[in-house]
C-alpha cells in the first residue's frame, strides 16, 4: 500500500478567493507598454518630473535586458497584452465606509477589516493598481510612524522618499525590477522613527481583480535607529483563463540597532506569474527577517535578500514553498555579508505534490574583508507523490577565510515509519500525514503571527482529511 496524501491547502481557492467583481475603474490604460503609457501613468499620478524621468529611463533598461534563462519559464508572458495601469477609484479612502461597495465586499470576504480590528496596527488594501484604503492606529501616527501608500508617500514626504527610493534595488538590477521601476503603482511607504517600537503588525493586502492585469506595487520601508516594525502582506487574485503578472519591488532600510520583519503570505491564483525583487540593507547591529510563504501563483521567482552592510548585522530568511498541480515555486533567498561580524540564517521548507515543482535557490556571499561571519542554510523538501519535483540550488561564494559557512539539504517523502508509528498510537492515516506535514513546516509556521499560524495549520489539517490511502 502506498502513501499518497492528497494534501491541498489550496483546495477551495475558487470559492474563497477565486471570485471577481465586475470590472469597474475610473481609468484603465490601453494594453501594452511604451513611453506613452508611462507618461500617462505619471501624469495621472501628478508626479514630480524626476520620477517621470526615472520611469522612462527604467523602461529603456527593461527593453535592453534579456529575459532570465534560468529558474522558471517566463517566455509565456506577453508583455504587450497586459494592462499596466488600472485605477479602480478616484481616491484612497480613509475609512471603510468610503471604500466602494464592490471592493468593500471583496475585502470583507477576505477578512481584512476584521483582522484590522483584532490584531493589526494598520492596514493597507490595494485593488489592481491603486491602494484603495489605508489606515494606521492613532497612537502610532502620533509617534511619527508613517504608513501610506507608496504614491501618497511620494506626495507627502518627497525628500525622504527620494533619498531612499531605488537605493536598495536599482532599476537596472534585473529585467523585472526595471519593469516595476517603469510602471510601479501602489504598495506601501513606511517610516518608523528612531526608537519607536511598532509591536503589532502593519498589514497590506493586495488584490488583482482585472483580467490580463499587471500589478506592480512598490514598497519602501525605512526603519530608523533602534526602531522595530513587523509588516505583513497577503495577496490573492481571481481565477481567469489567461495569465496575470505580478512584479513587485520591495526595498527596506534597517538602520543601526533596528529590527524589521517582513512576512508574506503569497496566495495568488494559479494563473499569476509572480516575479518579485525584495531586498533589505541592514546596518550596524540591525536585524532583518524575511518570512516568505509561497502557496499560490503559476510561477514564483522570488529570492528575498539581506545585505549586511555593517558589523553586527543579522539576516534571517524563512521560506516555505508549496507547489501543487501546474505550479512552479522557485523560491529561496540571498544573504550578502559585506561587513565583518555579521551572521545569517536561511531555513527553507518546500513541499511538492500533484506534479508541482518547488525548490530552493539561494546565495550566501561573503565579500572580501567580511571576517568572522557565520551563515547556516538548511533546506528540506518533502515530495508527496512520484510526479512531483524538488530542486535545490544553493550558491556559496566565499571570498574571506575567517568565516563559518554551512549548508544542509534533504529531500524525502513522508516516512513510512513515521506513519506507522503514529498509526500504531491509534491516529488514523490522514491525521498522521497531516501531523507530519505540520511538523515539517512548523519551524517556519511558528514564526507567523499567531492568527496566520493557526489558519495555516487548520488548512493543512482540514485538507489532509480523507486524502491518504
Amino acid at each position: 500500500m502506498t502513501t499518497t496524501p492528497r494534501l491541498d491547502i489550496r483546495e477551495g481557492y475558487a470559492e474563497k478567493f477565486g471570485f471577481h467583481d465586475a470590472e469597474q475603474y475610473v481609468f484603465k490604460s490601453r494594453r501594452g507598454l511604451d513611453a506613452g503609457i508611462i507618461e500617462q501613468i505619471s501624469e495621472m499620478k501628478g508626479e514630480p518630473r524626476w520620477m517621470r524621468d526615472y520611469r522612462l529611463k527604467a523602461l529603456e533598461i527593461f527593453g535592453k535586458k534579456p529575459l532570465p534563462m534560468w529558474g522558471g519559464d517566463v517566455t509565456g508572458i506577453d508583455f504587450q497584452n497586459i494592462f499596466y495601469y488600472v485605477k479602480p477609484t478616484s481616491e484612497e479612502a480613509k475609512s471603510w465606509e468610503d471604500v466602494p461597495a464592490d471592493m468593500k465586499r471583496t475585502f470583507n470576504k477576505l477578512g481584512i477589516p476584521e483582522a484590522e480590528q483584532k490584531f493589526l496596527a494598520g492596514v493597507g488594501a490595494q485593488y489592481d493598481s491603486e491602494v484603495v484604503y489605508h489606515k494606521i492606529k492613532e497612537h502610532l501616527e502620533k509617534q511619527g510612524v508613517i504608513f501610506l501608500s507608496c504614491d501618497q508617500g511620494l506626495r507627502d514626504h518627497e525628500a525622504l522618499f527620494k533619498e531612499y527610493f531605488g537605493s536598495v534595488i536599482p532599476a537596472s538590477d534585473n529585467k523585472f525590477s526595471a519593469l516595476n521601476s517603469a510602471v510601479w503603482s501602489g504598495g506601501s511607504f513606511i517610516y518608523v522613527p528612531k526608537g519607536v517600537h511598532v509591536d503589532v503588525p502593519l498589514q497590506a493586502y493586495f488584490r488583482i481583480n482585472t483580467k490580463d492585469m499587471g500589478q506592480f506595487e512598490r514598497t519602501l520601508i525605512i526603519v530608523d535607529e533602534g526602531a522595530w516594525v513587523h509588516y505583513v502582506e497577503g495577496c490573492t487574485a481571481p481565477i481567469y483563463a489567461s495569465d496575470s503578472l505580478h512584479s513587485a519591488v520591495v526595498e527596506i532600510i534597517v538602520k543601526p540597532g533596528a529590527r524589521c520583519r517582513y512576512t508574506t503570505i503569497q496566495n495568488w491564483s494559479n494563473n499569476v506569474y509572480n516575479l518579485v525583487t525584495k531586498r533589505a540593507k541592514a546596518y550596524r547591529d540591525a536585524t532583518m527577517e524575511w518570512v516568505d510563504a509561497n502557496l499560490g501563483s503559476k510561477l514564483t521567482m522570488k529570492y528575498p535578500s539581506v545585505f549586511m552592510m555593517e558589523p553586527g548585522a543579522h539576516g534571517e530568511i524563512l521560506s516555505i514553498a508549496f507547489a501543487g498541480k501546474g505550479q512552479h515555486q522557485d523560491a529561496g533567498g540571498k544573504v550578502v555579508h559585506l561587513a565583518p561580524h555579521t551572521t545569517s540564517k536561511i531555513v527553507s521548507k518546500s513541499i511538492s505534490k500533484d506534479g508541482g515543482r518547488a525548490g530552493y535557490r539561494g546565495l550566501v556571499r561573503v565579500q572580501k574583508g567580511a571576517v568572522d561571519c557565520r551563515s547556516t542554510v538548511n533546506c528540506d523538501a518533502l515530495l508527496l507523490d512520484e510526479a512531483s519535483r524538488s530542486d535545490t540550488y544553493p550558491y556559496m561564494e566565499i571570498m574571506e577565510n575567517q568565516v563559518t559557512i554551512g549548508h544542509e539539504a534533504t529531500v524525502s517523502k513522508i516516512g513510512d515509519e513515521q506513519l506507522f508509528y503514529l498509526q500504531s498510537r491509534g491516529i488514523n492515516k490522514d491525521e498522521a500525514a497531516g501531523m507530519i506535514v505540520s511538523g515539517f513546516i512548523e519551524p517556519i509556521v511558528k514564526e507567523l503571527p499567531m492568527e496566520y499560524a493557526v489558519e495555516m495549520n487548520r488548512l493543512i489539517q482540514l485538507q489532509m482529511e480523507g486524502s491518504v490511502g
Binding site: 534563462m69 534560468w70 572580501k368 571576517v371 523538501a381 515530495l383 508527496l384 507523490d385 512520484e386 510526479a387 512531483s388 519535483r389 524538488s390 530542486d391 535545490t392 540550488y393 544553493p394 550558491y395 556559496m396 561564494e397 566565499i398 571570498m399 574571506e400 577565510n401 575567517q402 568565516v403 563559518t404 559557512i405 554551512g406 549548508h407 544542509e408 539539504a409 534533504t410 529531500v411 524525502s412 517523502k413
Partner: protein, 454 residues
Amino acid sequence: MTTAQSLPVTAGFDAEWGARALARAAEAHEPQWALERRRAAEAFARALPFPNREDELWRRTDFHALEAALPTLDPFSATARARGVDDLPAAIVERLAGEAGNAALVVQRNGDVVLEQTHPELVRQGVVVGSLDRGFREHGARLQEAFGSLLASDYDRYVAIGAALSAGGAFVWVPDGVTAALPIRLFHWLDGAGRLAAPRTVVILGRESHATVIEEMLSEPGESSEAADAVAFHDGGSELFVGDGSKLVYGTLQNWGPSVYHYSNHRARVGGGAELQWIQTVLGGRVAKANSYFDLAGPGASAYVHGFMFGDQRQHFHLHTLQRHLVPHTTSDLLIKCCLKDRARSVYQGLIQVSEGAQRTDAYQANRNLLLSEQARADSIPGLEILANDVRCTHGATIGHVDAEQMYYLQSRGLPHLDAQRLIVEGFFAPVLDRIPLESVRDQLRGVIRRKIG
C-alpha cells in the same frame, strides 16, 4: 552526424589541424567508422562557439587566455617511443616506485603513447591493456559501440576539438568474471608549455569482473617563472563502462605543472549491482576544469566518489560532478574536500539528479572547504534535482578556516605554526587519502600536500 558537415564556421579552430589529425589517424590505421566520427567532431570544432559566461558551467572559470593561445599550441609534435621504463620522465619513474613490474602500464607523453606494457598474468586472464590506437585496430568491434556513447563530441567546443585532434589514450578491457590480478596504471605526461594533448580513454568491465585503474597526470614541475603567457592544454576524455555485478576502482590524480590548462570530461556508466569507486585529486595546473559525471543505470548500482583539491598561488580549480540516478534502487555517496591557500580559487558545482520513477534512490553529496588565506576564494554550488518521491537525497557544504582552538592546542604542544597547520590540513584530507588504493601513490600525494603547505 551528416548535418555536421554543413555547419557554419566559427573562428578559433584551425581547419588545417583537422586535416592533419585525420591524416595522422589514417596513417595509424584508425578504422573507417572512427575516422568518420573524427570528421564529424572536426565540423563541430569549427562550428561551435567557445563556451562563454552565459553558460552556467562556464560563468566562474575563465579560459580566455587559453582561447587566445590555442592557435600557437602544437598538437602534432611527435615523441619517440620509450624502450623501457628507464626512458620515461623521472617524475613518472618516481611515481612507479619500483612497482613497474607489478602493474600494467600505458604512458602517454604529449600526443603519443610512448610505452605500453602489460603483464603475463593479465594476458593469461584475457585482460586487454594498451593504447587506444591498438584498441581500434585489435578490438574495433567492441569499441565501435562504446566509444563516444557516453561523451558526445558536440558536448561543447573543447570536447569537439579534443575529439577531432584526439591522439593517444588507452583502452582497457576486462572480460566477464575476471578479477584483474594487477593494477592498471595510465600516465599522461606533458613536456611543458606549447603542448596540446587530447587523449581519449575507454575502460570496459564485463559482467562480474573487478579492476583497479589509476590515471595520473604529471608534467615538468617548477617552471612557473617562465613567461606567464606560455601555456599548455590538456583536453582529455574518458568513458568507463562498469558491467552488471562488476567493481571498478578508478583514480584520476591530476598534478600538472603551472603552465597547464586542464579540461577533462569523465563519464561513467554503472550497471545493475555494479560498483564504481572513484578517487579524484586536483592539485596542479594553472586553470583546471573537470566534469566528472556518472550514470547509475541498473538496479542495485552504486557509486562512491572521494576527491580532494588543494590549490595555492593563483591556481583556479573548477570541479563539476553529476550523480545521475536513472533507475530505482541505486546508491551514491560523494565527498569532495578542498583546501586553498595564497590566492587560489575553487569552484565546486555538484548536482544530484533523480530521474522520474527512480524510486528508492539514496544519494549523498558533501563538499567541505578549508581556506588557509585571506585571498583564497571558494565557491560551492551543490544542487539537487529530484523527480521521484521515495528517495533519500541529502547534501551538505561547508566553508571555513583552520580552527583557532585546534591551532592553539597544537602550538601549545610545542609545534611550530606551519607544522600545526600541516597536521590540520593532512587530517582534513585524510578521509580521502585513505581511499587511494596504492600505498606508494598515497605517500607521494602526502608529499605533494606537504610541499604545497610550504
